[in-house]
Symmetry: C4
Subunit: 234 residues, 4 copies
């Protein structure tokens, strides 16, 4: 069995999804990139989580060819592949896709998640964006690849850094999150779901979502992620 490291990290992260409550039924998947080898491990399609082993992970290269694996990879594989192509330079080594319920509400409402508090600012350097609708021709052909395309387009048009805003809502669909390791990508997916929950509750108290002052956003993001970060045991 080759690519043992990414197989194990990928399997563990996929198993974490139902444990964190992010995923119901089989609605989610995680991939992990070996950037040097130019391949990534991804969950097989439509398999129950409790049965997954590292050997079940499918190894796919960045051109989309299956390198190792007897199972069919997740149908979302081309989306993951497109994101690795575009975001690997920003340090992205793992992508998580879920249909977690609060995040899906933002995707279905077609709304960005503004930075309403420090929980958000601890993870995301500004609003988490929602993509535009995909066009009929983008849906008809290479749908999953084009799902990645609209994400990449969204980040380019808004001049967002995938390193600093490690998540997105795909309109009418749901969230993708990513990170420099599989456990971090899962943690960003969790943070997104939590911040979306907090935002729904905040909006119930106070219509019209008010972002926090920029100084507070900068402080919280930078104390965890900036050059002079002092959070954690770093």
């Amino acid at each position: 069995m080759n690519y043992r490291d990414i197989r194990e990290a990928c399997c563990e992260a996929n198993l974490a999804l139902p444990q964190t409550g992010l995923v119901d039924l089989t609605f989610g998947n995680v991939s992990v990139l070996d950037a040097d080898a130019g391949v990534f491990a991804i969950k097989p399609s439509g398999v129950e989580y409790d049965a997954l082993t590292p050997a079940d992970m499918v190894i796919v290269d960045l051109d989309g060819a299956i390198v190792e694996g007897s199972l069919r990879p997740s149908s979302d594989t081309p989306t993951h592949r497109r994101l690795f192509q575009a975001f690997a330079d920003a340090g992205v080594r793992s992508v998580v896709h879920t249909h977690s319920r609060n995040a899906v509400a933002f995707a279905q409402a077609g709304q960005d998640l503004p930075c309403l508090g420090t929980t958000h600012a601890d993870h995301f350097d500004g609003p988490v964006p929602c993509t535009r609708w995909m066009r009929p021709e983008e849906i008809a052909t290479d749908y999953e690849w084009n799902t990645g395309e609209v994400i990449v387009e969204c980040f380019a048009q808004r001049k967002l850094s995938a390193a600093n805003v490690p998540a997105v809502f795909v309109r009418g669909h749901g969230p993708f999150a990513w990170g420099e390791r599989a456990d971090k990508a899962v943690a960003y997916a969790q943070a997104l779901e939590i911040c979306a929950d907090m935002a729904l509750k905040t909006a119930a108290l106070q219509p019209g979502m008010q972002s926090i002052p920029d100084a507070l956003l900068r402080k919280h993001f930078d104390r965890k992620h900036g050059k002079n970060a002092y959070y954690g045991q770093g």
Copy 2:
């Protein structure tokens, strides 16, 4: 013990209901049809879930006669029977009834659940309908049979396929879901509850529920359920 297969599938699916969180107290039941034998297994009425065994399942024929079983079948048995009569040709072999809370909200509000996102489109080919109110005379006589009747009428009037829209809300009551196997029927009941939760949250962000474009609905439904489905290991 005859009809062991449907007894076991029925018992297992009934036990799955409280585990999935779909059912509180004793508010739910599952039936499983043996189409060749023309009989179905169903949960006994008002029995605690943790005590259920396959031998407790009651075997009922499509005319409503008890074929095997010492316990009284679920009071909802005539509804299940009516649905098997009408929908067996569409491949339905299991019916699930719950009072899951988000789905009940749609039944109580008398609203269809529109297709607001791809989670919905992965399971239901368009809106999940809500029936009309039952009339006093339908309630007074053969109430449970007539509950099935209003479902069948609703699908006929709206020209819906029970195979493609495997769930309904009975107005003022709650959801029924179905499928070609017991585990699939339970999964549709779960998917309905999840989509109803997502819809409630979406509506909190954006009043007036906006359905996804038809191309996106078609893509997601067909990639799982269409002729050229490519989701899962099938």
Copy 3:
């Protein structure tokens, strides 16, 4: 140890409260009446649930005297006592008090819970009422006894039967429920919490809560509780 039956039923029902999610921290209590002996068992005040044993239950008579027990009884004991005095003739043998969150919302909003669906009608024969505010002089003296008084007054003024509507909201406080056995009283407290949750969600979809037609309420209540009930194994 005397009164073993009511001690055990009372202890078991108190332990059920945190398991059902009805009770956070130590916010709840259950009592069980031995009508022949004219005494009831009740939870001691402010004790952690995980440490409770039948021997810890305090035995109190209907005049409020402690018959057996080294611990102080729940501070809500006079409320339970007042309810047993008034409702024992209606068959009430157990009273449950919780601060379950959805039910508390109705108590805090000062609103009755209308019968919005069959889940409600399966348990409560019409709206669950909310009492009036207690007056300053009722609060200043014999507060807990007077809490029972406003419940009894509410049922008398509205001509409600404690047997058919086994729950109430005390305004600004929370729910009480009761039944002919401890497990049934707990089940009514659960049903109330569930129906309140469903009502909150229904109201989010459709402002202005619409009760179900009376024929449907009658059908569901009577098929479980009426003379010709046919639900359960009867």
Copy 4:
């Protein structure tokens, strides 16, 4: 290992946070003061909860010097220190900080939590306040210390007693709670989260939050916390 008592109480209380559901990921921390020694134990920064032992707790004095500990203390340490300085005279021996979701909604909406019912009055003698926004210069320098400052300022300006109102919302951030022991501080953090949940649900039923009459607030607060308290086994 010195300061064993506060290390153990601090570790146990930190471990309680994820068990109570108050804390997701690593978003929370508890400190415990030894007032005689003038030092407190606090969680190390950014460490997973399941790995914490009493030996990992960091011992810090009231001037901010690390007295014992090889790990970096929580980045929120100066906030805890400021609160101990200001509130130790009110009997505060433990401070809890969480990002619990309902409480964060009030912080993000910049709203006080009014006393809507007796659950609130059992714990808090009036509204739980929300601080003002921190100013850019307070954020730029000594941010965490100044977070404590705005809490202390809020209590001074509103003439609130830290003993009677053992919690606060920091605007745009989240809740802090405290108490005379670590388990009590955690219980107040839980009570705050529960009351915030109840308030969100009450507001959904009845826009404009109505506080309970003062007599009812006094009764409930005083029967648990007043001179003549009669709740519990005290």
